[in-house]
Subunit: 252 residues, 2 copies
């Protein structure tokens, strides 16, 4: 087995399942710490701040600290920095996105040259209209992630990719998606982690986001069957992950 020098690790389906813990997750991260292997939690969840993510992880017995968390909101913020230094941003999203974008945000969409959209469970027609008008006026249209659905106790409810479609369908402008499986978040994560591409591995449960993100970014991948994609599902895919394991216990 190749000894990877850096780990990018998905959260939901890999470290926990919604509000339920995954018992193999804590020991896996402890082993990384013991071996002094750099790792970064990389999540499409745009609603939470790094601090809130850490609280959740530690409450489940998984060692974590804010510097080891990288959300799609943080990735969107960095993408805006890199591409639009003079950005005035109209954002739709929750606390994680609001904190990540900070003082560049405006409540007046008419003065925005960038629109950033993340999941917002307080979405209103007015917010959607303001964002659509800004995009029609030429504002750069960025979306934290294209996730179509989010698993909840009730079943799958609309994810940010579905909400984002209101603006893209209405304006005819496709957004720049930042989160997994896009290369944007992966390149940024690699830079933060500081390890070489060919010595880094992406660990995750979801083929369409985590594994595809690794494949697109030419990073090795470990599929773990504790979430969305089963090992059975995996057999139908043309491009396979580098490794697949039933649980994280099977890794070290």
């Amino acid at each position: 087995m190749k000894e990877y020098k850096g780990y990018l690790i998905d959260l939901d389906g890999t470290m926990y399942r919604g509000t339920e813990s995954i018992k193999e997750a804590g020991p896996f991260v402890e082993e990384l710490l013991k071996r002094d292997i750099p790792h970064l939690f990389v999540t499409n969840n745009s609603s939470k701040t790094a601090k809130q993510v850490v609280e959740k992880l530690t409450s489940m017995g998984i060692p974590a600290e804010p510097s080891r968390v990288f959300t799609s909101s943080m990735a969107a913020s960095k993408y805006v920095d890199d591409t639009t230094p003079d950005a005035t941003i109209y954002m739709i999203g929750e606390e994680g996105l609001k904190e990540a974008l900070g003082s560049r945000c405006t409540l007046d969409a008419s003065e925005a040259n960038v629109v950033v959209m993340g999941i917002d469970r307080d979405i209103t027609y007015e917010k959607l209209s303001d964002a659509a008008l800004a995009v029609r006026r030429g504002a750069t249209f960025i979306s934290t992630n294209g996730d179509k659905a989010i698993p909840t106790e009730k079943g799958f409810v609309p994810g940010n990719g579905s909400l984002t479609s209101v603006i893209s369908v209405s304006t005819g402008v496709d957004p720049i998606f930042v989160g997994k499986p896009e290369a944007i978040i992966m390149e940024q994560a690699l830079e933060i982690l500081g390890t070489k591409r060919d010595q880094t591995v992406m660990v995750g449960d979801n083929y369409d986001t985590d594994i595809m993100a690794g494949i697109k970014a030419r990073i090795d991948t470990i599929h773990v069957a504790t979430g969305v994609t089963s090992q059975e599902d995996l057999k139908t895919k043309t491009t396979q992950p580098t490794h697949t394991i039933p649980t994280l216990k099977e890794w070290f």
Copy 2:
């Protein structure tokens, strides 16, 4: 000029432009009344009741009565009647849709076998989630119309087709659209009007909805250049309307 025995008439862009009146509209409808020619106002607007539409038309000097109004909400209601006699409906929409669907509606999406979606400027994430869960459970998914954008004083804001995409993208289930340019609303309108297909004409300003609706339903069309589609735009279209006129004054 062919003497049509029945007229299907669009509203926004044809009878008025938003809150602005179109001066040729009143005399045009008066001429139909004078000649005793049956006519029906056919609108994709799902938010208003027939009575509210009549109030708007008469306030602009256009003769109208509720029996001569057919909205996409009324069409959706009739479509549910025709296809699901035992319907329990979870609806997202405004007053026009609520009135049209009436007592078949439930507030508990979990018991719905039909979801009907129309524009709702009080949309919430909870409504969208409930509708998505119902569609995932197998409820028939109907949308009043696929309009991507609505013209307002501020510019184009999201139409019902854009809001509907939240559910279709999230669930992977495409809705049955009822309104123009679909044949569903046109066949129903023809039946209400009671005139023969080859003696009826559809009058409207919007090529993609009004004119395409006529073309799809094999009904002659009159394009009037007082709204969305200009006579210049029209030249780029492969299939032309039967007639095109700058304003309704040029018709009779």
